[in-house]
Amino acid sequence: MPENPTSQPVPFRGGGFNPRPRALVGLAVMVVLIAVWETGCRTGIIHPLVLPAPSEAATAFMELVDSGLLWTHLGASLSRLVIGWTAGTLLGIAVGFAIGLFSLARAGMVPLVAAIFPIPKIALLPLFIIWFGIGEGSKVATILFGTFFPTVVATYGGVDNVDRGLIRMGQSFGLSWVSIVRKIILPGALPAILPGFRISAAIAIVLLVAAEMIGAEFGVGAYILMAGSLMAMDQLIAGVAILSTIGLTVSWIIGRAEKMLLRWRV
């Protein structure tokens, strides 16, 4: 082709819109933030009563470990979280499947779910205390109700989105109803159910703390409440950091489960 003075490469207009994993960036942001915060406290720009230094929060945390109370608080919180979340999730999946599979259940339950889902469960806590007692019952029930509804919605959405072609294939091979549900619908709905776990786990942690702030002797929420009433901001920050760590751990576990169970996805 003859060289033409006006010839030039075609301008590039593609690229972008493709987020890629950048390892360590998240960690770096956190480290920088904490460093700025610490410096601010040491130089006196941030008043210790407004916000204690991260190092002070760390000291408070170590005191908590040394006193042996960390495991008491953590154990109480985690057992409420695990029992409430597991029960809420199992019930939610069961009801979500019923809604997804049976017209009658759908007609009856969907309006009910829509009506109760938006109620802040913490508003019902006094009611739960009357029903289930001031002890563990009311706390577990709050978490159970909080996780139940988002799981129902995620599950029946997932069941609705299972490829009808695959179900018809199952029928065409004469698979039993139970086989179709277990081998086609359940795995097909899993990609919608697992992300629902992230949301319900976050809700569970929020409700856990709220419930523990009302009448609990032990638990991370009780620890934070106590710190707040004593104006011990270093302890308060330490408690919040524990919650944050619980959240990160749960999210990591769900991420692993997704990787393992949804390996077949593109």
């Binding site: 072609g165 695959l166 018809r168 294939m169 199952g170 029928q171 065409s172 091979f173 004469g174 698979l175 039993s176 086989s179 081998k183 086609i184 795995p187 390996r263 077949w264 996805r265 593109v266």
Partner: protein, 255 residues
Amino acid sequence: MQLTLNGINHRYGGMPVLSDIDLEIPAGEIVCIVGPSGCGKSTLLRLIGGLERPDEGAVLEHGAPPADSLNPLTYIFQDFALLPWRSVAGNVSLALEDHGLGKAETEAIIDDVLARTKLSDFKNALPRQLSGGMKQRVAIARALAVRPAVLLMDEPLSALDSQTRELLMDDLVGLWSKTPFTAVYVTHNLNEAVRLGHKIVVLSRRPGRIREVVSIDMPLAERADRVGELASKQEQLWSLIRDEAAAADMELIDA
């Protein structure tokens, strides 16, 4: 086993999609159903396999299916319909699991059908790792595993590129030549119809009626080498469909 379609009429929400269909599907032959898009070909296939009920008329089975047949009427779908979370062997196994065959027999059937479809090396691969042609071979293996009396194929090669389609046609002819099977083969591709059909049923535009049944006597195995002679048949089919296809193309869906 052979099938007879008796006075089939079918509507979707009041709109007739199939009208007065009478058809014989003789044992050991491949019957192709062609017609313009939206003429009810796939609906007819769903009626034949009992996935839908006709509004009027009936699909009759004559004679009992072979005793060893696990699923007498077996589909092969255009979109393959493989479970993405199961391996190649797992997808074949799905069709066998409800029959209580025992582990050894299930394994033997899976190995046999994978060998016949040249998939033995891909036993543990997941569908997402396979090409379109391989996915459809898995679906064919799954269909063969249940020893069908009649294979119901719904545009099985339409989602594939033309080279893969050519290879799979050879595979199907090879499978039929080794053990002749009965099949109803729905397609809009006239070339596939003249290559695979003993009988080609031409449907009209909606509502689908049988316009003509064209028979081709040439043995399947010879057809790949004698495409010249088939061209006239294909031309004949095209002249039957042409105007209707043009008219069907201008129709609004759901109008």
